[in-house]
């Protein structure tokens, strides 16, 4: 499956699609990028007059690129419109703030994919190459 096909299969749309492009994907690893749109609604309130990307959104970016894209690649043609997926656990450390218009790179490595559950070690870097968050995320086909 090509990188474009994987993105087309993602079950998200604006304003909750957080994958711009995949740079690399194989059965153990995925790398992808996303640029935060300064007009995103959450910046209006997080924080008041001081827009910083919420940790839950960083987690979502890591999950969409690091877990869901890799999951679609691994499940391959069995992934379709009726496939139902769920986030099952996250454990993330947040190291640096991410501001509007920043472009981030997510790098994810598979820990295991067994019995429909995918668990990955995921990290996010900013354009300077600094790590902004990292951790472990797992999800399942339900």
């Amino acid at each position: 499956m090509t990188k474009q096909e994987i993105i087309a299969k993602l079950p998200y749309s604006k304003p909750f699609l957080f994958v711009d492009e995949l740079l690399l994907i194989n059965e153990n690893r995925v790398e992808g990028i996303y640029t935060f749109d300064e007009n995103s609604d959450f910046y209006k309130g997080h924080f008041k007059d001081n827009p910083i990307t919420p940790g839950v959104i960083l987690t979502e970016v890591m999950a969409q690129i690091g877990l869901v894209c890799l999951g679609i690649f691994l499940v391959n043609n069995k992934f379709n419109k009726n496939t139902s997926i769920a986030l099952t656990s996250t454990e993330i450390d947040f190291l640096k703030p991410v501001f509007p218009n920043e472009k981030v790179t997510v790098i994810s490595e598979k820990v295991y994919f067994r019995f429909g559950k995918l668990k990955c070690k995921v990290l996010m870097k900013n354009e300077k190459g600094d790590e902004v968050c990292n951790g472990t995320i797992a999800g399942m086909i339900v």
């Binding site: 067994r114 429909g116 559950k117 399942m140």
Partner: protein, 84 residues
């Protein structure tokens, strides 16, 4: 490995995933992973993977689907150990 030894190993494997302390303290062969210990289906996968590692066996999909309580886990572990 006798049954009691397997139960003791299972007890330490399920401990971090159990959400019912009372059921965990009273764990027996008839204890159900989901309804008694309240382990969710995502963590049940981790229980199975920890069992694989602890006993150095491979659990196939069919066995995994049956492995819902202590008794069936013991049966599957004993079977897989005997096949080694």
């Amino acid at each position: 490995m006798d049954k009691q030894e397997i139960i003791e190993k299972l007890r330490s494997i399920v401990k971090p995933y159990s959400n019912n302390q009372n059921a965990f303290d009273n764990l027996t062969e008839s204890t159900d992973f989901i309804s008694d210990l309240q382990i969710n289906s995502a963590n049940l996968v981790d229980v199975i993977l920890d069992i694989e590692e602890e006993f150095d066996i491979v659990i196939d999909n069919q066995s995994m689907e049956r492995m819902l309580d202590v008794q069936s886990a013991i049966e599957i572990i004993e079977l897989k150990l005997s096949e080694k």
